[in-house]
Symmetry: C2
Subunit: 460 residues, 2 copies
Amino acid sequence: MNKNRKIVIIGCGAGGSTAAQFARKTDRKSKITIFEKDKYSQYSKCGLPYVISGNINQYNDLIEFSEEWYKKANIELYLNTEVNRIDFNTKIIYAKEDDTKIERPYDKLIIATGSKPVIPPIKNISKENKLIKGVFNLRTIDDAKKIEKYVKKDDKATIIGAGLIGLEMADSLYKKGMNVCVIESLPKILPKTFDEDISKSISDKITKYIKVYTGYLATEIEIKNGGINKLHIRNNLDSTNIVIDTNLLILATGTKPVLPDLNQQDLKIGKAGGIIVNNKCETFIKDVYSVGDCTEYKDFITKKPINIGLGSIVVRQAITAGINSAGGKYELLEGFLQTCTSEFFGMEIATVGPTIENLHDFSTISAKYNGRSLPEYFPGGKPITLKITINKKTREIISAQGIGDKAAQRINTIACAILNKMNIEIFRKLETAYAPPIAPTLDVTTLVCDIILMKINRNQ
Amino acid sequence: MNKNRKIVIIGCGAGGSTAAQFARKTDRKSKITIFEKDKYSQYSKCGLPYVISGNINQYNDLIEFSEEWYKKANIELYLNTEVNRIDFNTKIIYAKEDDTKIERPYDKLIIATGSKPVIPPIKNISKENKLIKGVFNLRTIDDAKKIEKYVKKDDKATIIGAGLIGLEMADSLYKKGMNVCVIESLPKILPKTFDEDISKSISDKITKYIKVYTGYLATEIEIKNGGINKLHIRNNLDSTNIVIDTNLLILATGTKPVLPDLNQQDLKIGKAGGIIVNNKCETFIKDVYSVGDCTEYKDFITKKPINIGLGSIVVRQAITAGINSAGGKYELLEGFLQTCTSEFFGMEIATVGPTIENLHDFSTISAKYNGRSLPEYFPGGKPITLKITINKKTREIISAQGIGDKAAQRINTIACAILNKMNIEIFRKLETAYAPPIAPTLDVTTLVCDIILMKINRNQ
């Protein structure tokens, strides 16, 4: 490798941009170039619902690194620039900025092309390959700006998809005074992140504020004045139809990897639909790395490939690819824990590890505990529900889900336990911090273990 | 062992009472008896400052288990009953309730006699073995009730000892509108729980509200009308004297184990002044257990004996002794992590592992990170400072200290890492939960590791 290695990165989302930063930290001399097809440098996509709700003042606040920042870091950034072709043999990138063609050789390439929304097959949803008026995705600042024009107190808003983004968006629109309805085709909300019982508890709380239809498939849009006027949904079990009046429909039906227009056979796409990478974020092509939503990597517990689009994962992959592409050494752990959190309707939720549906290869024991964040005698304690699942054979903790006070931080502690393949008997003995205004002597984190141990003893 | 074993417990604090509960859970048939010299059943001593501040309405709220509760659990509870003698050979307890003598044989004995305040050698502090008027400890409900009579807006209050209890009490009295002054003989506040740099950061914050003298020894009390009127303190370095006007003086100068009146040679008292117990909470005498503030046990990292009086430790020992005394099997971990938290003057602090002074046998690397609880673009983020210390040789995390938002829960995660002897390189890769309103993609918990790793690389 010559001294001034050329690192080219496709995509300036959290993945590409973080990779660039860590490449620069690792090697001050590399020539680093980022090609981004959008007009913005790295901004927080996860922050979009909070601009709509008014929590965050303006879209510009979401931009985490300005164009100026890249200049100072000596990272060459091309916005509005699409990569058309990659020649993996000659190691040349062919891109286009407006009408200017760019050819750029690379020593190391990082593909961070992210993901794009899945458009559900609903009658009349699009016309000439464009979503019809009043129907939107929520992936970009431009999407959010368009949605905002439809946000009006007492108007109806409908969201398809009761995943994290769908529910965050529901909360935002509810805060703006809209009548919000969420449609989910699967039988429970948060189907990919929470088990049925916890999902039910969350659902019980949010349905005080919004209407939720689970087990309903959106089938057809009725159009009036060129835009959406009604949405037809059909019950999956009894096929009954409901017609919902709505002038705003947001699609939160998941994403799929954006694969650069290239020879996918060389790159190898896996079962989860993403570019396969190893623990160094290397693809199957020499000197080509890939990170973020366009990739797949294995789950820590099941070892099966996952593509789930969590910012926490994107960033950790990006650090890995950034350091390695610049000549450093860094490896991912043996899989992702999928630690994850969100907040809506005043409720914090968090999870780590696979849902029970994804643990069917394991014999498991689960327990749930409904406790409080503070000792009983101390005023202001808040409810907290925690569920832990263990591998029945090894007694190792393999997943956990929580609702309530500081759920995310409590789940982080359990994430640390899972990473260490910690036995429930040992984890139960962890000395957690105690003070009357902060936590009880035996935290919910400990007490839920007791229920698991009781179940183990009962089984013996 | 006959079927209905007789378990006798001396002391109905958190230690004795929790042991009784777990003994009862383990064996429904045991005859369980508790002797308590005070007039209250288990109540939260840690909650006392919060009754004085008004956070908690009344002292009765602190009682965690009523006399009624023990009756229902079939646990015989003697209040106002002092144990005078234990015959370890015949296995008989001799106690006294008012004028009634009680003789009670035991199969298993649990000593949970707790600790008592250390009275500093200050001239005029006591008369006829009683603290003079206006000078108080804070260990019991009766202490707190007496203190409350002196709590008056704009009056002066002085506290000797800037440990956790001293500062919690300072906050309570400040909230009641008093002018509070804290005296600490050591050169820093929280000398036993925090390193100098973190102690300094905490001190910088609290001195906005109260006066703190560190490195000053209280030497003499001036008396007027039979009570304290002035306190003399002397600077340890230059011996200058300061005289403080005060009618209320609270002693928060630590505690020492209460040892039952018995043959201490048999029982074996260790270097930290407590009854030596093993990981089953057994003492050196057959069938005699001991738990809580009257014991000592080893620190997880240094393996040296500690006696520190944390509720979280008391309860974990009590579970162990309770289960084992009733015929079950339960072992403590190979030492205590000393996870610990508190909140005063609107600031949450937490710590795990020994302070740097107690790590002199180790070659260490420490790093501190001042970050925020939320991503920069999200409003409402709060400051958080986190310090981690690793063993330079093994790179295992051995202590951590934090100030700020959810410090306790963040420290719990690090406690889990320490318990697993986790290497800083691996801990840095832990996937922490991310969502804009809850935590950044790279939490302070992760970022502080980066500084450690930079220091490691620089040293190489």
